[in-house]
Symmetry: C2
Subunit: 222 residues, 2 copies
């Protein structure tokens, strides 16, 4: 091929397969590509819908005990709720510009993240099947009220637990989420599924009987 | 979007992220898409090159003991060597037609699988760094000579071990590959990396310090 250059399709595939890890920013030359992918509302939406379809088919095929111990782990940011309005801002540019922590925290605290409709569809299907949602977010405990308000406004309700990060932030995302999943299993729950936009939601200990990766080419949580 | 239809891009993303599991055939409507992806020799090649680049950067960044115990696990089919000439045949059609086992075994036995050049690049870089390649293939033991001949013809040499499947075929691919990796660790080796085209190469026990998924939208090994 003509000029050697970063191929944004290859970059995104590497991100989505966890081949690329600990990356800080979307490459500048991929801003337009990622922007069109996310905001075009066609391919990203379809990709989310396809993940949701797989998750629903899998859940419907499960032989459940119906003893109230079957749970499904959901991540929040860019899994149940979308940060796309924030990442589309001119001072973020789809992750090509480093996040301003203060501004991002303001955005989260406002509790205006829109729903990702196909994931809400998974959530509601699981409830109807008797599988209990457990929501585990990397957001700290002081966001509890705004997260609850935001999740409810987006259509989520009747979760078994909503887990936020306690005071100890020294753990990596993998360690934090693994430890919370381990607590569930120790309490007698069976994690039949686990859905998140970050591989750090889906690897580590007791990942669940099946994991589902929601696309997110905008940032990496390590 | 206009007509609800299977989106082949979403399908391929679901395959590459392990969201879709235990699938038997490439959907008929994706034959052209997969064919162009693979044979266009542009996107597939670039995607392989990008995986290889990540693996090489990771390997070069490792702090190695240089005690001869650092190993890297390679899969064979569609990782080190390519079955693309077989899958491009008119009686296979990029995996949209079920494999004829007899014919496929004949193809493997001929030992004419071409190299995947970017993965050979990873292999040679690892050797130069003092990381020893361990090749673990799902092919049965009676293919040893043809596999050795094929790997050598393709440019691979100086591996530490070439592991083929013994008589017991009751294990799943995950169980088989996990058990072989476990034997390595019990023998004192450290698996610093693991590269394969199937998620069943990369999940299970002792997957290695880092895994790399080579694209393969043509078949699933369960």
């Amino acid at each position: 091929y003509p000029v050697p250059q970063l191929d944004c399709l290859s970059w995104r595939l590497a991100v989505e397969t966890n081949n690329l890890q600990n990356w800080k920013l979307v490459p500048k030359e991929c801003e337009n590509y990622v922007g069109h992918y996310m905001l075009g509302k066609l391919q990203y939406r379809r990709d989310c819908e396809y993940v949701a379809k797989q998750a629903i088919e899998y859940a419907k095929g499960l032989k459940l005990n119906r003893d109230g111990k079957d749970v499904w782990v959901f991540d929040v940011d860019d899994t149940t709720l979308s940060n796309l309005p924030y990442y589309a801002r001119s001072d973020v540019r789809f992750g090509t510009i480093a996040l301003n922590d203060t501004k991002f925290i303001e955005w989260l605290a406002e509790g205006k993240l829109p729903v990702i409709p196909s994931i809400l569809g998974v959530y509601k299907t699981l409830l109807s099947l008797g599988i209990k949602p457990v929501i585990i977010t990397g957001a700290p405990e002081n966001f509890r009220q705004s997260r609850i308000a935001n999740l409810k406004k987006a259509g989520y309700s009747n979760w078994l637990k909503l887990v936020l990060r306690g005071g100890n932030n020294s753990k990596s995302a993998v360690e934090y989420k693994s430890s919370k999943r381990m607590e569930l299993v120790k309490a007698g729950y069976r994690i039949v599924g686990n859905i998140g936009d970050q591989w750090t939601d889906l690897i580590g200990e007791i990942v669940g009987a099946r994991t589902f990766k929601v696309p997110n080419p905008m940032y990496y949580v390590g």
